[in-house]
């Protein structure tokens, strides 16, 4: 078990909150809540140790394309592949956008 923290520049706070994904092997649970304007704060609790750089790169790639809303994101990861992490984050971002 490892807990990792990340911060990225963000826009205005998201309006809604969302919980997507499931607790289970190869998947992850993502809780998204409105954050402080300008900041996207992500905390990852993962069952896979030693993967900090992989997370950093994945987030950088995702948030370089489009400035995300200000959020506090809590991730519980159970060994999901980068592809699954990305899908779940996109699913969560879509849900907070709709509220």
């Amino acid at each position: 078990m490892e807990t990792l923290s990340f911060e990225f520049p963000a826009g205005q706070p998201a309006r809604g909150k969302a919980l997507v994904g499931v607790v289970g092997s190869g998947d992850l649970e993502v809780l998204l809540e409105p954050g402080q304007a300008g900041t996207l704060a992500i905390q990852v609790v993962t069952s896979v140790n030693g993967a900090e750089q992989r997370w950093q790169q994945l987030f950088e790639r995702m948030f370089r394309e489009q400035t995300p809303p200000a959020l506090n994101i809590d991730i519980h990861d159970f060994g999901a592949t980068p592809g699954v992490v990305r899908l779940r984050l996109e699913q969560g971002l879509e849900e907070v956008g709709h509220d």
């Binding site: 994904g21 499931v22 092997s25 190869g26 998947d27 140790n49 899908l87 779940r88």
Partner: protein, 206 residues
């Protein structure tokens, strides 16, 4: 039994020389010791099978390919539940208790993950903290109501139970299908995607 290995089947016969040059030392040891590999979901050449290796720790996982012709034996998750050992470990106790309940569904089911690996290989990888990973073959619609009912029963087990529904499109988590989310994560050979209905013909073709 299917002729083509399916995800989660255990295969024997892969040798260390089939590993790529960058494979870790533990992966070579696993194969040199004659331990099985686990079929995973990925698209590979026809004469190959996508497999994963398990080492002693959670970090020791390695994805590779095995030549089809080198398979000497294969055990499916369904075959692993035929004879269960006596054990006080929560994951094995849970498997004992859930056995009649899962049989009563009238669908093929089996055990995967660390419990499946231990039952198939004889190597003690299950710990007191281990979850129980199961799969249920659902070639036709398994409704969200049925999923809720089954998930509630699994939640009473002595350990956490993760059940995957193996649909014609790929696998989904029972827990997610039993929940409220409109989109669920489908895991298939070409990767993962979010879908509405894994039994929909259009989703299958996608």
């Amino acid at each position: 039994m299917h002729d083509i290995p399916r995800p989660h089947d255990l295969l024997w016969g892969m040798t260390p020389v089939q590993l790529p040059a960058d494979a870790p030392a533990w992966a070579r040891q696993v194969l040199a010791a004659g331990q099985p590999v686990v079929v995973r979901r990925a698209v590979v050449a026809d004469d190959q099978i996508a497999i994963g290796l398990r080492g002693a720790t959670r970090e020791q996982r390695f994805a590779a390919r095995m030549r089809r012709e080198s398979v000497v034996s294969r055990v499916s998750p369904e075959q692993l539940i035929a004879r269960l050992p006596d054990s006080r470990l929560p994951a094995l106790l849970a498997l004992h208790r859930l056995h009649p309940l899962l049989d009563s569904l009238g669908l093929a089911w089996g055990v995967t993950g660390s419990v499946g690996y231990q039952l198939g290989s004889g190597i003690a990888v299950v710990s007191a903290e281990s979850d129980l990973d199961l799969l249920l073959r659902t070639p036709t619609v398994f409704s969200r109501d049925e999923a809720r009912e089954l998930q509630q029963l699994l939640d009473r087990a002595p350990c956490r139970v993760d059940l995957q529904l193996e649909t014609p499109s790929g696998a989904i988590a029972l827990r997610e299908w039993a929940g409220d989310s409109a989109h669920v994560l489908l895991k298939c050979a070409t990767g993962a995607r979010l879908i509405d209905d894994p039994w929909d013909q259009a989703e299958r073709a996608a």
